[in-house]
Amino acid sequence: MSLLIATISFYLVVAATVVGAVIAVAARNIFHNVLGLALSLIGVAGLFLYLNSPFVALMQILIYVGAITIAICFAIMLSQPLYLPAPPRNPLKIQGAAFGAGLVFIFLGLLTRQTLWTPAAERVHDWSITTIGHYLLTQYVVIFELISLLLLVAMLGAIVTARGGRGGA
C-alpha cells in the first residue's frame, strides 16, 4: 500500500517532469514554453523529494518557479511582439536537432546502463539543513562568498546590458 502510493506519486512526478519538458521545448507559443518549463521544474523538485532533500526541492520551486520563470516571462514581454504570428519552422533544422539529440540520448543512455556505480564506502546520514549551512560557513565558505560576488557581477552586467549599455542606446 505504502509502496503503491509512493510509486504512483513518483510516476506523477516523472510525468510532470517529462511532459513539462516536452512542452518547454516543443510548444509553439513561447509563453507555453515557459509554463512547460515551470511544470518540469516542479517535477524535478518532486524528484528531489524522492532523493530525500526537501530543502533543495523547495528551493528549486522558490528559485526556478518563483524567480527564473518570472524573469523569463518579463523578458518575453519585453522583447517579443506576441501579436505577430510565429515565424514558420524550419523542418530541416528540427529534423537535425531531433537526430542530434537522439544520438546523444542513445550514447548517454548506454553509458548510464554500462557504468557500474559504486557507493561510497562509508556514508553519513545527516540530511539536515543545518549541516548544509555549516558546510557553507566552513568548508565551502569560498563558494558561498563567491556566489554573492557572482550574483553581483551578473546583476551589474545584466543591468548594464538590459539598459543598453553605458551612455544611452
Binding site: 509512493a6 530543502f55 519585453l78 558561498f144
Partner: protein, 136 residues
Amino acid sequence: MHKGWRLEIPEALTDFSYVLVFLVAAALFALGPLIIAHFIAPRSFGAARDEIYECGMPIIGGAWVQVAVIYYLFALLFLAFDVDVLFLFPVLLAYGKGYVWRDFIEITIFIGILSLVIVYAWCRGVFTWKRKPENL
C-alpha cells in the same frame, strides 16, 4: 492502529505525500464549482459577449504588448536576492553553532556584497522612473 494505514517511507516522502494529496485536493476543490457552474448557469448571447473587454469600446491592437524594461530589471534584482535568500536560509540555521564571530563576519560580507547590487541600481537610477532615463 492497523499496519495497513501507515506507510513506511522516508520522512521527506511522507511530507510530500501530504503535499501531493493537498495539491490534488485543491485542484478538485477548485474544479468542482467550475463544473457545477457550467451546468447550472444560464447562457447569454450577443455579438460582443466573447470580445475582450476594454471599457466598452472595440479593442485597438492586441494586449500582448511590450512592457517597460523597468519591470525586467526588478525581476532581475529579485532573482539576485532570491538566490541570496536561498543560501542564507541554511546558513542562518547553522549560525552560532560554531565560531560565532567568523559566522557573523562571513554573513555580513555576503550580505554586504549583495547590497552593492541595490547600491548600484540606486545609483544607476533604476528606482527612478522616467520615460527616457538619461542613460537608458
